[in-house]
Symmetry: D2
Subunit: 136 residues, 4 copies
């Protein structure tokens, strides 16, 4: 999926560029839209009693962006066997230049905060995410 | 009470100054510290089953600030009769110049989200806040 | 103009609702889109050597919003005679309920930071903004 | 150096915890305070015509935090030979539990945006940062 984000004025800093922390937020925006697109919305997950926190982030800054730039974010699953979910994000500017390459890792918790194995406990969700890995 | 906030790099924008939205956040920082100082912490209010949302904000920007500036925020109660709470904030820089004058208005809700009259339902809290008005 | 903003997860707070400071940022988003729509983009203003800082904000919170809500922001000019610009913002949720009513006031500065009178110094810009007041 | 940050209400999200993007901002806060403490403030670097952007971030989330928690951030240099600077951050809560382990990588640019070798062009700054690596 390609998600787009237009850089807001309040996302720039006194260097005149997008503050690096905002890309972490755009990863979340792209992830939410992506999960919606495969019918696994945050709302649906929460209704199923699942929360999926971020356990790690890696973010490589290749090129700066600034106010009014339109950033395209390609987001996809790179790893999933039922316990950990890894997503990759490729952000490019309007000239097709790569600005940021990033990954996020997630686990799945039930309402009590215990780690769950999606393959065992939610086979439907497991199938959706597994298919996404194969599509790459 | 005087609360101080040192401006963070990520709070600046491409004009080279503190983005105006951050002063609204510092008002909250100052308010939290102030309520702590009069023994009415957010935690204590929430334990009593009270939440106190912001119902309105007014913020007048007099002078800009930027990265590394230390802003002193004087915060105090200007109005309280039991239902609405009004706080005022005076923000000055290290040279004593006024940067921002602001007010926030708050109400009080119980766990069901209904408006409550603090004077009737929480006389202890009423006394603390009333005393604060008189101290001005 | 109607600008829409879908509430991001990172814009919510532990009360489960949109943190009130974010509406101030959405006002800027709506203002940027609105000025673009009348051919007065920030970029164009800056090329003309004009910056237009916020001098005051008023924001009345009527109804909360939360993650994934789509907020429609109607933005328009309410006052402009050449020196001060006043904009109004009406934010409604998907059910047409009013969430926030707000205003922002702006002045115009040249590159040296001195206040300018748009009517005298930039008659073209003056005409555009004056027409906007009359359209209301 | 140990930098402390008290979690603000606006830094929490609807999960009731600190939103993960804020730790990236606290890394910057800790870095600024650390560079100040070794007499290499951002202001001093900028006066020397040097900017030092973030080129990558890694952040591992071990334990959540929330409003009012006091987070201690130990920050130190782990790599520096003149071109790239690597910093490490260990964030612990009031019980001494590790919340976040993170690293940031930085380069150095001159006013024209060209990569510079600090060892060759700024031997004084090179000495300060090299000493910091050895102190570990």
């Amino acid at each position: 999926m390609i998600y787009t984000h237009k850089v807001h004025y309040y996302e720039t800093d006194k260097m005149g560029i997008t503050h690096h922390s905002n890309y972490i937020r755009w990863m979340e925006e792209a992830r939410v839209a992506y999960l919606d697109s495969i019918d696994l919305s945050y709302a649906k997950l929460e209704e199923s009693g699942i929360i999926s926190p971020v356990t790690s982030i890696e973010c490589n800054y290749k090129k700066t962006s600034t106010f009014d730039d339109v950033i395209s974010i390609k987001v996809y699953v790179t790893e999933f066997k039922g316990v950990k979910l890894k997503l990759k994000y490729e952000m490019t500017n309007e000239d097709g230049e790569v600005c940021v390459i990033a990954t996020s890792m997630h686990c799945f918790l039930n309402a009590e905060g215990s780690l769950i194995n999606i393959r065992k406990e939610y086979p439907d969700i497991y199938d959706i995410l597994s298919n996404e890995v194969e599509r790459q």
